[in-house]
């Protein structure tokens, strides 16, 4: 799994480095630089070919669009992961609180109904079994 990412990362790094060197050549161009420039341009195309070949290995990888929002804003995409975990934990705690409250209400309701309607609640418990204490 990590190998295909390493392969893609290597190709991307080479591609970026090639582009950077291309920019250096162009920033102060000399006539003798023409052959090097042509070579870098063809390296750029072969680099794109290599990156395109990596696509087949990664066809099952899905990236959430929200992570792209962070990148477009110039922010660290790890913040997206962090916020996802924090939101998941907060929602987990919220739902756990709801479940605990509902369990307490259920046991309280059953106990009070048993006081008022003992026969009916006995039938109810016979059908659904004894509820575990909250």
């Amino acid at each position: 799994m990590a190998e295909k990412f390493d392969n893609l990362e290597e190709h991307l790094e080479k591609f970026v480095e090639n582009i950077r060197q291309l920019g250096i050549i162009v920033s102060d161009f000399q006539p003798s630089s023409q052959t090097g420039l042509n070579q870098k341009l063809n390296f750029m195309i072969t680099g794109l070919q290599d990156i395109d070949k990596c696509r087949q290995q990664l066809h099952d990888i899905n990236v959430p669009l929200e992570a792209f929002e962070y990148i477009d804003q110039g922010r660290n995409p790890q913040l997206y992961t962090k916020e996802c975990l924090e939101r998941a934990l907060a929602k987990n705690e919220q739902v756990k609180g709801k479940i605990d409250t509902m369990m307490k209400f259920k046991s309280l309701l059953i106990s009070e109904l048993t006081k008022v309607f003992p026969e009916e609640m006995a039938k109810y418990k016979a059908i659904h079994g004894d509820d575990p204490p909250s």
Binding site: E13, I25, D28, L41, L79, K98
Partner: protein
């Protein structure tokens, strides 16, 4: 409504506790006599309540002693009461991202990427969203450039105008004093320099040309100030000058 419930849960007068009013089953109205038979009640709901259809009149429910009593749903072992972080073995990830401080900028995530990447992509049209919404129209294959095509890339000699020189500028980075930096090729450069930088590429560290020059100048100034030959040094100690000789 109250009469229907009281008829469903009909009990004798002695059995009705005073607390029944607290449960909302009518404030003190005497309940009707209980039915003679012990057959499960099959009360027909009047139409005033609205016909909610077969969903409330399942054949299974009709046989139960309590109307509308259904089977409990299949219990799911995984609920919100479980700590899902530990369930899915995400404790390490949680401590990694939430326990430590994650740096804000994109350049901290991609330190090797050249260019000003911390600026929003919408400013210079390099956003990923625009790429997804409006993908560029291109062919499916990558063909190398032929000689005729490369004639279009013949450039004029000389440096670029100032307005186009921003691409290679690196954002200012904090330099650690203890690390030995291997300098990458600087801008502008002769054409042989990029090939020589292949060995230095492995270290992948870079400096800005103007920043380095400034720092070199500052270092030279400091050295000249502390030297005994410098005329403008007040109170220079003879012990320091003797060490230099």
């Amino acid at each position: 409504m109250t009469e229907i419930f009281s008829s469903l849960y009909a009990q004798s007068d002695a059995q009705v506790p005073p607390g029944s009013s607290a449960l909302g089953f009518g404030p003190g109205k005497p309940p009707p006599p209980p039915p003679q038979s012990a057959v499960p009640m099959t009360v027909q709901i009047p139409h005033q309540l609205g016909d909610e259809g077969p969903c409330l009149r399942k054949p299974g429910a009709m046989n139960e002693p309590f109307y509308l009593l259904r089977e409990l749903p299949a219990g799911n072992e995984l609920t919100g009461s479980t700590n899902l972080i530990t369930h899915y073995n995400l404790e390490h990830s949680y401590n990694k991202f939430c326990g430590k401080k994650v740096k804000e900028k994109l350049s901290n995530f991609l330190p090797e990427l050249p260019g000003m990447i911390d600026s929003p992509g919408s400013q210079d049209g390099s956003s990923l969203r625009s790429l997804i919404e409006k993908p560029p129209v291109c062919s499916n294959s990558f063909t190398p450039l032929t000689g005729a095509m490369l004639t279009g890339f013949r450039l004029h000699t000389g440096p670029l105008p100032e307005q186009y020189r921003l691409m290679h500028i690196q954002p200012p980075k904090k330099k650690s004093k203890h690390k030995h930096r291997h300098h990458r090729p600087q801008d502008p450069l002769p054409p042989e320099t990029p090939s020589d930088s292949d060995h230095k590429k492995k270290k992948k560290k870079r400096d800005d040309d103007p920043d380095r020059k400034k720092k070199k100048k500052d270092k030279k100034k400091k050295k000249n100030r502390h030297s005994p030959d410098h005329p403008g040094v007040p109170g220079s100690q003879p012990s320091s000058s003797s060490s230099l000789r």
